[in-house]
């Protein structure tokens, strides 16, 4: 497929066409926080960003969402499902976050049982990824298997070459998104392709300096849980769950009811395996009573159980979990472990 390019000055035209067809979510800064938000007419995305503070997953798996509603009527309870899915474009997502969708796609389709709320949204979503100009400090996408210049799961990939973006169309869905504003695109010239390739090479060279060793993730996770450093780590954990809420692949949730006026809503919201009450049962039994069991679950799910069950690593190297209030850096800890011969 021919590579295209779009001048930055023509981007508003394309976004306008996309917005006429779909809800467009792009990075914006709000109250000092960069996140994906739905663009209203006239809104400009903020594309000169490092990475969003909150992960891309919240577009497709919101922090809270209503699953069903019920009403008490003279004929009895009426229960209805809620479907807020709509044609959606994700614009300008970083390759790590796009790769995170792959883990969630597999998790939400696990066992052949589809989570309709995820699947309906995901199937209506076109993902336009934007290659990072430079790495954010602390990110290590390639170490976690992320393709930083053409991520799996993207329909279109944009690479910044100064006054324009070189455009890689990766799917029919991506082609349809480009076709909406075909006059905004031109064929990329040889020099544009060279500029894009060089931008990618520069990025990968800079990322290589931030690389950490996550080879043999399962053996590494097990070795870490036997290492002296492990005691220091779990003893420090506050069980606050910030790492999970910021993680592009964490998908644990709680379901609870809210009643009002003869009816109500069933809501699901993010939950975390770090929480003390996450596995606590009404009778008092708790399968993971201390931070040690809970953080073990986190480490093993990311680096062993998840990869075994879903076929992909539960980490995409975005580095957001390094915002831990007590400076727990699991990936860095894991990278420092000496991995013995796999048993």
């Amino acid at each position: 497929m021919d590579r295209l390019k779009i001048l930055k000055s023509r981007l508003p035209d394309w976004l306008g066409k996309l917005r006429a067809q779909a809800a467009v979510y792009a990075p914006v800064e709000r109250a000092g926080v960069t996140c994906f938000a739905r663009l209203a007419p006239g809104d400009e995305p903020q594309l000169d960003y490092g990475n969003t503070d909150t992960p891309l997953k919240e577009v497709l798996f919101p922090q809270t969402e209503c699953l069903i509603t019920w009403q008490r009527t003279p004929e009895g309870l009426q229960v209805q499902e809620v479907d807020t899915s709509e044609p959606t474009v994700i614009f300008g997502a970083r390759p790590c976050d796009v790769t995170g969708l792959r883990f969630l796609d597999r998790a939400f389709r696990l066992g052949g049982i589809e989570d309709p709320y995820w699947v309906r949204r995901r199937d209506k979503t076109t993902v336009i990824s934007l290659v990072c100009p430079h790495p954010v400090p602390g990110c290590f996408g390639p170490s976690a298997g992320v393709n930083e210049t053409s991520p799996e799961g993207a329909d279109v990939v944009l690479t910044d070459i100064g006054s324009a973006y070189v455009v890689e169309v990766k799917s029919e869905q991506g082609q349809a998104a480009v076709d909406l504003a075909s006059d905004a695109f031109t064929s990329a010239a040889e020099e544009d392709l060279i500029a894009a390739r060089e931008a990618g090479e520069t990025l990968l060279a800079e990322l290589a300096e931030q690389a950490i060793d996550l080879e043999e993730p399962e053996a590494r996770a097990k070795a870490f849980l036997q290492s002296p450093a492990w005691e220091q780590v779990w003893n420090r954990c506050l069980s606050c769950g910030i790492c999970a809420f910021l993680c592009p692949t964490c998908h644990c949730f709680d379901i609870c009811d809210q009643s009002c006026r003869g009816g109500g809503e069933r809501i699901r919201c993010y939950d975390t395996c770090s929480s003390k009450i996450y596995t606590k049962q009404a009778g008092g039994h708790n399968a993971r009573p201390t931070a040690k069991e809970r953080l073990t679950q986190r480490v093993m799910h990311k680096f062993s159980y998840g990869p075994e069950r879903l076929g992909v690593l539960g980490c995409v190297g975005c580095g957001r979990c390094r915002r831990c209030p007590v400076d727990i850096d699991l990936q860095l800890e894991l990278s420092r472990v000496e991995v013995k011969e796999p048993v």
Binding site: L77, L110, I113, H251, C252, G264, R266, R268, T279, G283
Partner: protein, 275 residues
């Protein structure tokens, strides 16, 4: 797209006291045609909605041959169960499921089936017991080992009398603490298994009960000569979704709600799970 989060509305038909803080609820789907596709297998569980309080998972007590009514026997321990215990016949609840794999009864045919239940783990054991007794000729023998906290805590007391009278299964009951009215065995379930000389010959055991009971039953069975693959246990967790998404019941690379709740002990051993 079929929505596994959407509960079927069910109407409480009957409520029976089963002991202190324990009631059995017989539920019928408001839309009677739901039962045909629902048909819980012994050992499966459902997510029960008490609208306004939420959902919680409960093992089904209904046997495979008992059609039309879903029986759940529920201890009052938390908010949802408190609300449920205040409900009356005619009240409506929601039911999702059935979820999980259920007891491997087919594989147990031709063998001595040993069912072990403790406390509120008894409902799924009942589902296996009455299902097996309905096809008793297909088993070498059927026996139940049941441990309750005290005589008044014995669940399904009336039915147990009938089961004993029917002679379809060997019924052994023990209580942790006896009283003047109790003529039977006293002691925790492991003492009952030892005193009755539960035998591993051509046998398979299926156990459901609180974690602490399973923790002690497994070494007792091992001591009695049962191999790990003759020990089948049903596990529980605070499952919210029932379909392997919410994460609570993750056990190694598996999910209790999807791959269980019934596991063979040798499989759990290969996963490195200790009970």
């Amino acid at each position: 797209m079929k929505n596994p989060y959407l509960p079927h509305v069910a109407v409480i038909q009957d409520i029976r006291d089963e002991g202190p803080g324990l009631k059995s609820f017989d539920l019928a789907f408001r839309d009677g045609s739901v039962w045909e596709e629902f048909r819980p297998q012994p050992g499966q569980f459902v997510e029960l909605s008490v609208f306004g309080e939420g959902e919680a998972p409960f093992g089904v007590a209904t046997g495979a041959h008992e059609t039309g009514l879903l029986r759940l026997s529920i201890q009052q321990v938390g908010r949802l169960t408190k609300m449920l215990h205040s409900m009356a016949p005619g009240d409506e609840v929601g039911v999702r499921g059935p979820f999980g794999n259920g007891w491997p009864l087919e594989a147990a045919k031709g063998k001595n089936l040993i069912l072990i239940g403790g406390g509120i783990g008894m409902p799924p054991v009942r589902s296996a017991l009455v299902s097996a007794m309905a096809e008793k000729d297909q088993y070498e023998s059927i026996s139940l080992f049941y441990g309750a906290r005290s005589p008044e805590h014995i669940t399904y007391a009336d039915e147990i009398e009938q089961w004993i009278a029917s002679d379809d299964a060997k019924i052994n009951v023990t209580v942790d603490v006896g009283d003047d009215t109790w003529p039977g065995h006293v002691g925790v379930i492991t003492t009952l298994l030892e005193d009755e000389h539960a035998s591993p010959a051509n046998a398979v055991t299926m156990t459901c009960g609180p974690p602490i009971m399973i923790h002690f039953v497994i070494p007792t069975l091992t001591k009695l000569g049962f191999s790990d693959d003759q020990i089948i246990v049903s596990l529980e967790a605070r499952m919210k979704c029932g379909i392997g998404k919410c994460g609570r019941c993750n056990l190694g690379a598996e999910y209790i709600c999807l791959d269980g709740p019934v596991f063979s002990y040798d499989h759990l051993q290969t996963m490195g799970i200790r009970l």
